[in-house]
């Protein structure tokens, strides 16, 4: 696999869209390209952020935050 092919596969990998038979080949290439591969995969995870930021933010009730914070404070004190 060339590095360009690895880049294409990496973008599929970070969104979980590689098929099982592709994963094995991907992991082999990942090991072959080493740090360069890891850096590129890290960069690709930015796609997650981009997809989330493309959505119109949704409202949630104040009760959720209150429940969350009381759980967090209780856990911290436990």
């Amino acid at each position: 696999m060339s590095f360009e092919e690895f880049q294409n596969q990496s973008r599929l990998y970070v969104i979980g869209a590689l098929e099982p038979e592709e994963l094995e080949e991907f992991e082999t290439a990942r090991a072959k390209f080493g740090k360069k591969a890891e850096d590129f995969i890290t960069e690709c995870y930015g796609l997650h952020e981009a997809f989330a930021l493309s959505l119109r933010p949704a409202k949630s009730s104040a009760a959720i935050k209150e429940r969350l914070m009381s759980m967090v404070r209780a856990r911290k004190e436990a």
Binding site: Q7, N8, R11, L12, I15, G16, A17, L18, E19, E38, D39, F40, T42, E43, C44, Y45, G46, L47, H48, E49, A50, F51, A52, L53, S54, L55, R56, P57, A58, K59, S60, S61, I64, K65, R67, L68, M69, M71, V72, R73, R75, K76
Partner: protein, 219 residues
């Protein structure tokens, strides 16, 4: 470290990570703590920092969850669970591996897709998705042009990049990212050859990746 002190603290420059995520983060109010400041405070068990992070991103994360589960009550439950997980798992966050928002989105997406499957609501959501898709073939893209005009913000920029894709590529990415579908599942759902699905995903993701890179370089 208390969050009150964070608000007046200058943004920490924790050294440039060796590998940077492709990221275009939303702008912050002047003097507001960075996401990294808040994550570090959460790692130090500061609940106020979590409250600030919640205020900053609950809307984005809930939108993401809703896009996966299509159910308001389930989305609220998951949102709470995800922020609890952020609190519990904060120690596993590493700035070297990416930005806090990217980490939270990855966590939220995984949790939402797991939640969808665990609750065996997948079939119901698929029906709803099918119905939405029939009514609105490019449902991921709603009124993007209008939004781009009205909003001069990060979302409009993201949408501009995504909206530049052909609808078939958008649909393939939507099904993979927001519904956790494999290439085979997408092929079956859209009655499209597997090779075509792969090509659509590869081309679409590359265009988004390149678009975001350009955007990041411009900002």
């Amino acid at each position: 470290m208390r969050a009150a002190t964070l608000t007046t603290k200058k943004r920490a420059r924790a050294g440039k990570p060796k590998a940077q995520q492709l990221s275009v983060s939303p702008p912050l109010e002047p003097g507001a703590p960075s996401d990294l400041d808040l994550m570090q405070a959460i790692q130090a068990q500061d609940p106020d920092a979590l409250a600030q992070l919640y205020d900053r991103y609950n809307g984005i994360l809930k939108a993401l969850i809703l896009r996966v589960v299509h159910n308001e009550a389930e989305a609220d439950d998951l949102l709470q669970e995800i922020f609890m997980e952020i609190w519990n798992q904060a120690k596993n966050f590493s700035a070297q591996k990416g930005k806090p928002l990217g980490w939270m989105v990855t966590l939220a997406r995984r949790r939402a897709i797991d939640g969808l499957r665990k609750k065996q609501a997948y079939a119901r959501a698929e029906e709803r998705l099918q119905s939405e898709t029939e009514q609105q073939p490019d449902a991921w893209v709603h009124n993007a042009t209008e939004e781009a005009i009205v909003l001069g913000d990060t979302r409009a920029l993201m949408r501009k990049v995504i909206d530049g894709l052909p609808p078939a590529q958008q649909q393939a990415i939507d099904l993979a990212f927001f519904h956790g579908m494999s290439q085979r599942e997408i092929a079956a759902k859209t009655n499209t050859p597997l090779g075509t699905v792969k090509t659509r995903l590869e081309l679409g993701l590359k265009k988004i990746y390149d678009g975001l890179k350009e955007l990041r370089d411009e900002l």
